[in-house]
C-alpha cells in the first residue's frame, strides 16, 4: 500500500488569528444554543467545520460577538491574548454558573520574527470539529440551567495591553469549588487553544 502524504498548508500569524477568532465566534454561538441562554428559534443553521452549526439571528448578540471576535483577532495577531472566558450567569442573582475557558498559547517566535508554519487545514478543521462535538455533548453532564441566564466574555491579556474604549477591567468572575471538565484542544502551530469548562456543583449532586 502506497503511503499517503498529507498536504500541508502554510499558516501565517494573521491566518491563525482569523481561524482562532472565528472558532471562538462559532463556539460562543454553540454554547449559547446548547445551554439555552437564548431561545432555540432565534438560531439559524449553517454549515461549518463539516458540521451543522447554529448561529444566533438576534442583531444585538450578533453585533456583540462580531465586535468581540474582531478585537480578539487583533490581540491574537499581537500575541497579547492569554485566555478567553465565556461566563454564564444567573440573570436574577448575577451568580456565575458556568465558565467556558479557552486558554491560548502563542508561539512567540512567529510573533517576533513573522515566520510562518505549515499544517494541513483539514487537520485543524478536524480538531475543531472534535471540540464542537464535545461542546454539543456537554449537555449530558452539565447541570440544567432552569433560570434565565445571561452571558459575558472575559479576556485575559498581557498587562501592557492598551484597553480599548469598549472594554473595561473586571474581576475574573470565578466559581467557588467548581467541577471541571477538560475538553480537546486544537493547534494551528502558531496558536494552541485548550478548552475547559468549569461549573457550579449542582445541588442534586451535593445531596
Amino acid at each position: 500500500m502506497a503511503s499517503r502524504t498529507v498536504a500541508k498548508d502554510i499558516i501565517t500569524l494573521r491566518g491563525s488569528a482569523a481561524i482562532v477568532s472565528e472558532f471562538f465566534g462559532y463556539a460562543a454561538n454553540s454554547i449559547l444554543y446548547n445551554r439555552g441562554v437564548y431561545p432555540e428559534e432565534s438560531f439559524a443553521k449553517v454549515k461549518k467545520y463539516g458540521l451543522p452549526m447554529l448561529l444566533t439571528q438576534d442583531e444585538g448578540v450578533k453585533s456583540f460577538i462580531t465586535n468581540l471576535t474582531a478585537q480578539l483577532s487583533e490581540w491574537l495577531e499581537s500575541g497579547k491574548l492569554q485566555r478567553v472566558v465565556m461566563v454564564i450567569m444567573s440573570k436574577a442573582t448575577n451568580e456565575v454558573l458556568e465558565r467556558w475557558n479557552f486558554s491560548i498559547e502563542t508561539d512567540s517566535e512567529v510573533v517576533e520574527k513573522s515566520v510562518s508554519r505549515e499544517k494541513s487545514d483539514r487537520e485543524i478543521m478536524r480538531e475543531i470539529q472534535a471540540i464542537m462535538r464535545q461542546v454539543a455533548s456537554s449537555i449530558t453532564y452539565l447541570p440544567c440551567l432552569d433560570e434565565p441566564c445571561v452571558f459575558d466574555v472575559l479576556a485575559y491579556t498581557d498587562k501592557d495591553v492598551a484597553v480599548p474604549f469598549t472594554w473595561i477591567e473586571s474581576d475574573p468572575k470565578l466559581i467557588a469549588n467548581p467541577q471541571m471538565v477538560k475538553l480537546h484542544s486544537f493547534d494551528t502551530k502558531i496558536h494552541k487553544v485548550d478548552t475547559l469548562v468549569s461549573y457550579k456543583n449542582d445541588e442534586w449532586d451535593e445531596q
Binding site: F64, Y156, D158, V163, T166, W167, L174, I175
Partner: protein, 724 residues
C-alpha cells in the same frame, strides 16, 4: 636335495664335519647321505673306480635310498611341519602386521584426533580469549558507563535534594500562605456575616420606615380627605357668601339706583334715609363678613401652609433621626473596620517582605512565581528522572546482555571443559592402547628378533608416536593450565558481575523511590494545573478585561426607560386626577402634588442622566467615526460615504461612494457595493468613460484588485491636477 651323482668319498670327512648331528633340521634343507660322500670326494680323484664301488653302492644305494627316502619323508614331514609352522608364523606375522597396521591406523587416527582436538582446543582457546577480551572490554565499558551513571546519579541526587529543599520550602511557604489565606477567608466570612446582619438590620429598618411612611401616607390621605371635606365645606360657605355678596351687591346697586332716583325727587323721607342707613349697615356688615371670610380663608391657607411645613419638618426630623442612627451604625462599622485594619496590618507584619497592604498582591505574585518556578524545576527534574530511568533501563539491558554473554561464555567454558575431559579420556584411552600396543610390540619383538627391519621401523614409529604423545600431553597440560587461568578470570568476572548486580539493585531501589517522588510531584502539578484551570492568574502579568455588554446595558436602559415611562404615565394620571381635585379644592391637592412632584423630579433626573449617557455614547462614536473617516481620506485620498440600500429582493446591502480629493468635478465618483465580504464596482457616468472603463477592466476584472485601481486613479488624478 639328493644329488644324482653321488660325490666322491674323499669328500666324506668334510661332509662328516659338515654333517650336523641333526640332519633333520630343515632349516637349510640340505641332506648329506652318510655313505656317499660326493662332497668329500676330491675333485682331482677321478671316477675311475666305479665298479666296486658300484656294487656296494647299489645296496648301499638301496639302503641309502631307503634311508634317504625315509629321511626324505622325514624331511618332507619336517618340511611340511616347518611349512605349516612357517605358515602359522607367517599368519601370525601377517596378523601381527595387520594388528600393527591397525594399531598404526589407530595411532594415526588418534594422532589426527589429537591434532583435531588440539586444533579445536586452539580455536576454542582463541575464541575463549576473544570472548574473554570482548567481555572484558564490555565489562570495562559497562564499568565506565556505570561510573558515568554514578556520577550523573550523584549529580541528579544533588539536584533532587536541592529541588526537594526548594519544594519543601515552597510547600512551607504555600502552607503558610494557605493558613493566611484561610485566616483572610475567615475574616472575609465574618465580614460577610456582619454585612449580612447589617443588611438584615437595614432591611428591617427599611421595612419599618416603609411602614412608617405608609402610616404617614395614610394619615396624609386622611388629612387630605378631611382637608378636602373642609375645603368643600368652605367652598360651599364661600359660594353662599358669594351669593350673599352678589345679592348684597345687587341690593346695593338697586339701592343706589333707588338712591339716585330718590335724590332727584328730593323726598327727604326719613324712612328712605333709614333704609339707606340700614342698607349701608348691612353692606358694612356684609363687607366685614366678607373681610372676615377672606381673613379666614387667608388664615386657613396659612394654616395649610404651616401644616405642610410642619410635615416637611417632621419628615426632615425623621430623616435626620434615621441618618443619625445610620451615623451611629457607621461609626460602629468604622470602629470595626479600624480593628480589622489593625488585624490586617498585624497579619501583613507577620508576612515577610510586606510593609504595606499594596505589597501583599506583589508578595502573592512573587510567591506564585516561586511556585511556578518550583513546578518548572520539578518538571525539569521529572524530565531528568525520566532520562535517568531510560539510561538505567539501557544499563540494565546491557547488564542482561553481559549476563547472557557471561552465561554463554560459561557454557562454552563448560563445553570446552567437557571437550577437554573427553580429549583427556581419549588421551588416556589412547595411552592405554599405546601401552597395550607397546606390550604387543614388545611381544612381537621378542617373537620376531630376526625381522629387524620391520620391527625397527615399527619401533621408530612407536617412538615417534610416543614422542608425539608426550608433546601432546604437554600441550594438554598447557591447555589445562590455560583453562585454569580462564576459570580464575571467569570467577573474578563473576564476582565483578555480582558486585554490579548489587549496585544495580541499589540503583533500582533508588529509582523506585524517585518514581514515588515523581508521582507525588505529578499529583501536585495536577493540583496546580487544576487551580490554573479554575481561572487563577498572576496579576503581575495578566489583566482581565470585559467588553461593556452593550446588550445588557441597552436592555437595562431600555427596561429602566420602560419602567420609568410606565411610572410617568401613572403619575401623570394621578396628577390629572389630583389637578381635577385641586380645581375642586385647590388647597388639599398641594400635599399630594409635592409628593408626586418629587417622584416626577427624580424620574426626570434619571431620564436626563440616561439620555445624557446615550448622547455621550453617540458623540464619542461620532467623534471616533469622523476621526477614522478623516484619517482614511487623508491616507488613501478618497472621501468615503457609506449608505445602506435594499435590493429589489429585499437583501440589505452596503453602498460605498468614493470621491478622490484630486477630483476635478463632483461627477467623478466611484460607487461600490459591499455584501458579506464581496466588493463589486457599480457602473455610473464616470466609470463608463473610456479611460476609466479601461482601467476597471484591467485592474478589477482581470487582476481582481480594487486597491490597485483606486491607487492608479489617485496617481492619475494627482498628475492631472499638478500638471493643470
Amino acid at each position: 636335495m639328493i644329488l644324482r651323482t653321488p660325490p666322491p668319498k674323499k669328500q666324506r670327512a668334510e661332509p662328516i664335519h659338515h654333517d650336523s648331528p641333526s640332519p633333520l633340521v630343515a632349516s637349510e634343507g640340505r641332506l648329506v647321505i652318510y655313505e656317499d660322500n660326493p662332497l668329500a670326494a676330491p675333485p682331482p680323484e677321478s671316477p675311475n673306480q666305479p665298479s666296486d664301488h658300484l656294487l656296494c653302492t647299489y645296496q648301499c644305494r638301496q639302503m641309502v635310498k631307503a634311508d634317504v627316502l625315509d629321511a626324505l619323508s622325514n624331511a618332507e614331514k619336517q618340511i611340511s611341519d616347518y611349512q605349516s609352522k612357517l605358515e602359522a608364523l607367517s599368519e601370525s606375522l601377517s596378523k601381527a602386521e595387520a594388528e600393527r597396521k591397525k594399531f598404526r591406523d589407530q595411532f594415526l587416527y588418534a594422532e589426527q584426533e589429537l591434532a583435531a582436538a588440539k586444533g579445536r582446543e586452539q580455536m576454542l582457546h582463541d575464541q575463549l580469549l576473544k570472548e574473554v577480551d570482548d567481555s572484558q572490554e564490555r565489562f570495562r565499558k559497562q564499568l565506565e558507563t556505570n561510573n558515568e551513571l554514578k556520577g550523573k546519579l550523584q549529580n541528579e541526587m544533588n539536584l533532587r535534594k536541592k529541588a526537594e529543599f526548594s519544594s519543601v520550602s515552597a510547600e512551607e511557604k504555600a502552607a503558610d500562605l494557605e493558613g493566611k489565606l484561610n485566616q483572610f477567608s475567615q475574616s472575609i466570612e465574618t465580614e460577610k456575616k456582619r454585612l449580612h446582619n447589617e443588611l438584615a438590620l437595614l432591611k428591617g429598618e427599611s421595612k419599618l420606615s416603609i411602614s412608617r411612611i405608609s402610616a404617614d401616607l395614610e394619615r396624609m390621605e386622611f388629612r387630605a380627605n378631611n382637608a378636602e371635606k373642609e375645603s368643600e365645606l368652605l367652598k360651599e360657605q364661600l359660594e353662599d357668601l358669594k351669593k350673599h355678596l352678589n345679592e348684597c351687591l345687587n341690593q346695593k346697586s338697586e339701592v343706589e339706583k333707588k338712591f339716585s332716583s330718590f335724590t332727584f325727587q328730593e323726598v327727604s323721607s326719613s324712612e328712605s334715609n333709614i333704609l339707606i342707613k340700614h342698607l349701608q349697615e348691612e353692606l358694612r356688615n356684609y363687607e366685614s363678613e366678607v373681610r372676615e371670610a377672606r381673613k379666614l380663608k387667608s388664615s386657613h391657607e396659612d394654616i395649610e401652609l404651616l401644616k405642610a411645613k410642619l410635615l416637611e419638618e417632621k419628615g426632615r426630623r425623621e430623616r435626620v433621626e434615621s441618618e443619625l442612627s445610620k451615623l451611629q451604625e457607621q461609626q460602629i462599622s468604622l470602629v470595626n473596620l479600624e480593628n480589622e485594619l489593625l488585624l490586617w496590618k498585624l497579619i501583613t507584619k507577620d508576612i515577610p517582605d510586606v510593609s504595606c497592604p499594596e505589597d501583599v498582591p506583589v508578595k502573592f505574585a512573587t510567591l506564585q512565581k516561586e511556585v511556578i518556578d518550583s513546578t518548572i524545576k520539578i518538571g525539569e527534574a521529572n524530565a531528568r528522572l525520566k532520562q535517568i530511568e531510560v539510561r538505567l533501563d539501557a544499563t540494565e539491558l546491557a547488564k542482561q546482555n553481559a549476563e547472557a554473554d557471561a552465561a554463554l561464555a560459561k557454557e562454552k567454558a563448560e563445553v570446552l571443559k567437557s571437550e577437554v575431559k573427553r580429549t583427556e579420556l581419549m588421551l588416556s584411552m589412547v595411552n592405554e592402547e599405546r601401552d597395550k600396543l607397546r606390550n604387543v610390540i614388545n611381544d612381537s619383538k621378542r617373537h620376531k628378533n630376526e625381522e629387524a627391519g620391520d620391527e625397527m621401523t615399527s619401533g621408530t614409529v612407536v617412538q615417534e608416536l610416543e614422542s608425539s604423545l608426550v608433546k601432546k600431553e604437554s600441550c594438554i597440560k598447557e591447555l589445562e593450565r590455560n583453562l585454569r587461568e580462564q576459570k580464575e578470570i571467569n570467577d573474578r568476572q563473576q564476582n565483578e558481575i555480582k558486585l554490579l548486580h548489587d549496585r544495580l539493585n541499589n540503583e533500582a531501589r533508588r529509582i523506585k523511590s524517585l518514581e514515588r517522588e515523581s508521582d507525588r510531584l505529578r499529583s501536585e502539578i495536577s493540583l496546580l494545573e487544576s487551580k490554573l484551570g479554575h481561572g487563577d492568574y498572576s496579576s503581575a502579568n495578566t489583566k482581565v478585561l470585559r467588553m461593556v455588554n452593550t446588550l445588557a446595558v441597552d436592555n437595562e436602559s431600555k427596561q429602566t426607560i420602560e419602567a420609568l415611562q410606565t411610572e410617568l404615565q401613572k403619575t401623570k394620571e394621578k396628577l390629572q386626577a389630583l389637578e381635577e381635585l385641586k380645581n375642586q379644592s385647590g388647597d388639599t391637592g398641594k400635599l399630594v402634588d409635592s409628593y408626586i412632584s418629587e417622584k416626577i423630579m427624580k424620574l426626570k433626573e434619571q431620564i436626563a442622566t440616561l439620555e445624557k449617557r446615550e448622547e455621550r455614547y453617540k458623540t464619542v462614536f461620532a467623534d471616533r467615526i469622523s476621526v477614522f473617516r478623516r484619517a482614511c481620506c487623508e491616507l488613501f485620498g478618497y472621501k468615503i460615504v457609506m449608505d445602506e440600500h435594499q435590493r429589489p429582493n429585499g437583501i440589505p446591502v452596503t453602498r460605498f461612494t468614493l470621491q478622490s480629493i484630486y477630483a476635478q468635478n463632483d461627477d467623478e465618483k466611484l460607487e461600490f457595493e459591499y455584501e458579506s465580504g464581496n466588493t463589486n464596482i457599480l457602473e455610473n457616468n464616470y466609470t463608463v468613460q473610456r479611460e476609466i472603463s479601461h482601467q476597471v477592466d484591467i485592474f478589477v476584472r482581470k487582476l481582481n484588485s480594487i486597491p490597485a485601481f483606486t491607487a492608479n486613479l489617485t496617481v492619475e488624478s494627482f498628475n492631472r491636477r499638478t500638471l493643470s
